[in-house]
Each structure stands twice: as structure tokens, then as C-alpha cells.
């Protein structure tokens, strides 16, 4: 679970860190990636085709969100793009409901169902694979930010949009690219979730998305490594509080931790000071 939270948290952190935009459509994109993959698998596609197709759908959705939220409202209050991204979340979920109903659908198991026992703990192969993949992807993203032309552009934009424009960075190209990256990450995490839990539904993104936000805040907004720590911490808190206090008190401890942290240390565990903005 931690790995999936990490990926979702990184997607949130990218849009927030660079554009100061809390993108509420991410749970919808998460769900779209998984459900489109499920649908194409049902149609008899090979998984090697179905997964890229699901990812393609997620990227398109993310791109659409960029066109209609961020593009119009660069200069508006920070609530405005947030509200339209909620609009997109409602839109995606209900379109899927119309198309395929509200039932939980069975997602075929693609990973062999093997378990390893380590000191009394049972760990599924799928979980290890997704955690590894999540970490690899995050490392990939941070390399992308650090060494490529696009990455340098994104970091400049995060520092100051005005200066970035003055320095000849094509902001109108960087922003869509950023949304493509977040769409891809979110789509991958959705598919990983579907593979691990073997079910998909229209609302599957909601809970994960909210926990992803919590993970991002706990680790430090706009900080990729913070998102990793936050994601793992949320996963760990979940497991521990299920173990010690029972499953129905999980939310209380997870969000309680979140609340305490945001009040005591709004910049998160790894965040730099809030006033100076975000560093990627």
C-alpha cells in the first residue's frame, strides 16, 4: 500500500510544488487508468497492450484537466483551479458509472500469487513488486527533474513563473508536459492498485487520493523525497493501527497524525520553509 500512496503523493506534490495547484482530479485519473485497463482486458486484449492503453487514457484525462483548469486560471485565486478539478473528478466518476455501473469489478490477477514469509509477516510478491516499481519511478522522476531540459524548466517554473518566462522558458509547453508526467504516474499507481487488490470501481480513487494528499503533506509539500517518506509513513501507520487498535480506528490515527503534523510543522518532515516557496 505504501508504494501506491508514494506514487499518488508524488503526483500531488508535482502540481502543488510547481503550480501551487491542489489537483483534486488525481483520484479520478487514478481510477481511469485502472478501469480502462480492466475494460480492455475484458475485451480480450493482451495485458501488454491493455496497460499502455489504460495509461494513455490517464494521460489524456490529465491533459484535458490542464486545458480546462490551469490554462484559464493562472491568475485567479488558488481556490478556482481546485474547484474545477473537483468538477473533473465528479465528471470522470459519473461517466464511468454510466458506462460500466457502480459494482466492484474483478480485475484479473496478472502477478503470480506468491507469498514470502519474513519473520512471521506474510508479504505478497505483488506488493514487493509495486513498492519497488514505485520507488524506481520516483527515482526516475527526480532524475528527470535534475538532469533534463524539461526538468530544469519545471524547477525554474517552481521557483518563479515570471522569471522563468523572462529567461525564455516556454511555460506553455512545460505545464502540459508536467500534467502528462503526473497523469502517467497516477495511471501507473491505479493499475498497480488494481493488480494488488484485483478489483476496480468508479470510486476506487477517492480513499487512496485522500491518503495521498495526507502523505504529501506529512512528507512536505512539493518535495519528492518527502512524498516517499510520507507515503511509507501513512502505509505504516495504517498497518500498525490496524494491528494495535483495530480496523475501524485507522482513519482516526492516520488523519490525526496528519492534523498534528500540519499544525506543528506545516512545511512537513522534509519541507523547506514555507515562506521561501518550494524546492524540488
Amino acid at each position: 500500500m505504501g508504494g501506491i500512496y508514494v506514487l499518488v503523493a508524488v503526483s500531488f506534490t508535482l502540481t502543488i510544488g510547481v503550480l501551487n495547484f491542489l489537483n483534486f482530479s488525481i483520484p479520478g485519473i487514478f481510477m481511469l487508468g485502472a478501469i480502462v485497463t480492466w475494460r480492455t482486458l475484458e475485451n480480450g486484449w493482451h495485458w501488454g497492450l491493455a496497460i499502455p492503453f489504460g495509461l494513455f487514457a490517464a494521460v489524456c484525462a490529465s491533459f484535458l484537466v490542464e486545458r480546462f483548469t490551469y490554462r484559464f486560471m493562472k491568475n485567479a485565486d488558488h481556490e478556482i483551479p481546485l474547484v474545477s478539478s473537483i468538477g473533473f473528478l465528479i465528471l470522470f466518476e459519473n461517466l464511468v458509472l454510466i458506462a460500466w455501473g457502480s459494482d466492484q469489478q474483478r480485475f484479473p490477477s496478472l502477478i503470480p500469487d506468491l507469498n514470502i514469509r519474513v519473520a512471521g509477516l506474510i508479504i505478497g510478491i505483488g506488493q514487493i513488486l509495486s513498492l519497488a516499481l514505485a520507488l524506481l519511478l520516483v527515482i526516475g522522476v527526480s532524475m528527470l527533474l535534475k538532469y533534463t531540459q524539461l526538468g530544469r524548466g519545471i524547477r525554474a517554473l517552481a521557483e518563479s513563473p515570471e522569471t522563468a518566462t523572462l529567461l525564455g522558458i516556454e511555460v506553455h509547453r512545460i505545464v502540459p508536459a508536467l500534467f502528462v508526467v503526473t497523469g502517467l504516474l497516477t495511471g501507473i499507481s491505479g493499475i498497480l492498485f488494481a493488480m494488488n487488490y484485483q478489483q476496480v470501481s468508479a470510486y476506487m480513487g477517492d480513499v487512496v487520493g485522500l491518503k495521498g494528499i495526507a502523505a504529501m503533506v506529512i512528507g512536505g509539500m512539493g518535495n519528492i523525497w518527502g512524498a516517499i517518506i510520507g507515503g511509507l509513513l501513512i502505509g505504516l501507520t495504517e498497518v500498525l493501527s490496524i494491528y494495535f487498535f483495530g480496523a475501524d480506528k485507522v482513519d482516526f490515527y492516520v488523519y490525526g497524525l496528519f492534523l498534528v503534523l500540519i499544525v506543528l510543522r506545516p512545511q512537513g518532515i522534509l519541507g523547506s520553509t514555507v515562506a521561501t516557496g518550494v524546492k524540488l
Partner: protein, 281 residues
Amino acid sequence: MSGYAEAVILMLAINIVVAQAGYLPLAAGQLNLGVAGFMAIGAYVSAFVTNEYNLPIVLGIISGAFAAWLVAVVLAVPLLRASGIYLALATFALGQVIQAVFLNMEAVGAAAGYAVNKHASFSLIMATTAAVLAFVLLLSRTRFALYLTAVKNDPVVADLFGINVRTIKVQAFSLGALIAGIGGALYAHQYSYIEPQNFNILLSVYIVLYVLLGGTQTVLGPIIGAVFFTLLPELLRGSEQWRYVVFALFIITLMALRPQGLITSRLLQRISSLWRRERTE
């Protein structure tokens, strides 16, 4: 009046009340995503005291509102250290925590929900709604409304002009919670059954949507927003899902074309000057 019309009007009245609960903090620049949590406090406290101590509903509503206000005042000091998107996230977490607390409170039925014995009459709900609106309208005529706008637009300058920014912020936040408590109590006595899942994050989000779509500059804005978004889905009742699709598309287009909301103070001025001109002619 048919039962259906009455139900819609009651729902509308409650939505108008909670829209004001979202409006007051937003007028001071606070995006409160925990309104539903304060509604839950109001609903549960009112339901509990009327059930267990047999208090009249009016006293129940007052104690519910007071409880929500008290929680907000106590939490406002640490919470309002954060601002902007951080504050929105903190209130979001607060709403989740409150929901989780009720989800685990055995005295009020935990996850199974809680039956409310006393049912509020139509006239009581309407009267309460009118009272809340009158209060907010009165408030908007005082200097307090100006202070809110000043704090929203620029806290530093407001501070320089001698406004106690922190007090204003705490007041806006806790008054919003008070009204949310009233709204929650009305909800409890109208539907006669409450469960923690009623007061989820989506409810908070919808409340904020009423306000932002109606416009945050005037008291009328949130009212129009609430009216619009209670009636629009009712009008589109053809298909349960399609109406949400239309709703979502509407949100997206409205925010793209008119980010300041439907009703702005300039619009009101223009209407009133038109009206005046017609009268003089």
C-alpha cells in the same frame, strides 16, 4: 404543498444555512474543507441532548451550535497558524478526524448511525434559516464585513491599519462553525437519522462549491449558489448519473468563464442602478 416540494424546500433551507457556514471563513480568505465536521458536531450534540435529556429542539439546536463553535474556537488558534492551501488541508484533516471520532463513539451508535427522536416542524426550520440569514445580513452591514475583506485581500496591510488580524480570523472561522452546527442540527431533526458517513469530505466540498460558484463577495452569492445547486440536480432528475455529469460540466465551464462566481458586488450595483434609473424615469 406537496410532500416532494416541501422536502425540496427544506433541503434548500438547510443548504442555504450551511452555505453561509462556508461563506464566512471564505470571506476572510480561509478555505474550510471541514465544514461537514462542524455540521456533524451540531447534529450529534443536538440529537443527543434532545434524546437523552428530553430538551426542546430549539435548545438542542443552540447547544449543537455552541458545541461546534467551542470546538472551532479551541482549534482555531493552532489551525490558523497555517494559511492558504495549508489551512484548507488542515481543515480537511480536521473534518476527517471528527468523522472518525463519531465513527467510533459507541454512545451515539458509532458506524451504525443514531436515530433522532424529535422531528423539527417545517416552520421551525424555515424560522431558523431566516434567523441565520438575518444574522449574516446584519453582519455584512457592520465593519466586521469590511475587516473580513481587508484580511482576505492583504493581511499585512490590514494589520498595519490596526485591525487585529488574528481575532478577525478566529471570529470568521468560529462563526462559520457555529452556523455549520446549526445547519447540522437542522439536518438531524429533519431526517431523523444521522450517521457519520453523512458528514464526509464530499459534503464539505459541495458546501464550498455553493459558495465559490455563487460568489464570495456578497451574502447573496452563497444563497444563489445553494439555490442553484439544490434545484439544478432536481430539475435534471431524468437520470441519476447524467445529472452529475451535467453538474460537473457546469462547474468546469463556470469556473473557466466566470471565476469570481455568479454574483459579484459589481453585478449587484449594476442591477440596483438600473432599477433606480427605471424608477426615476
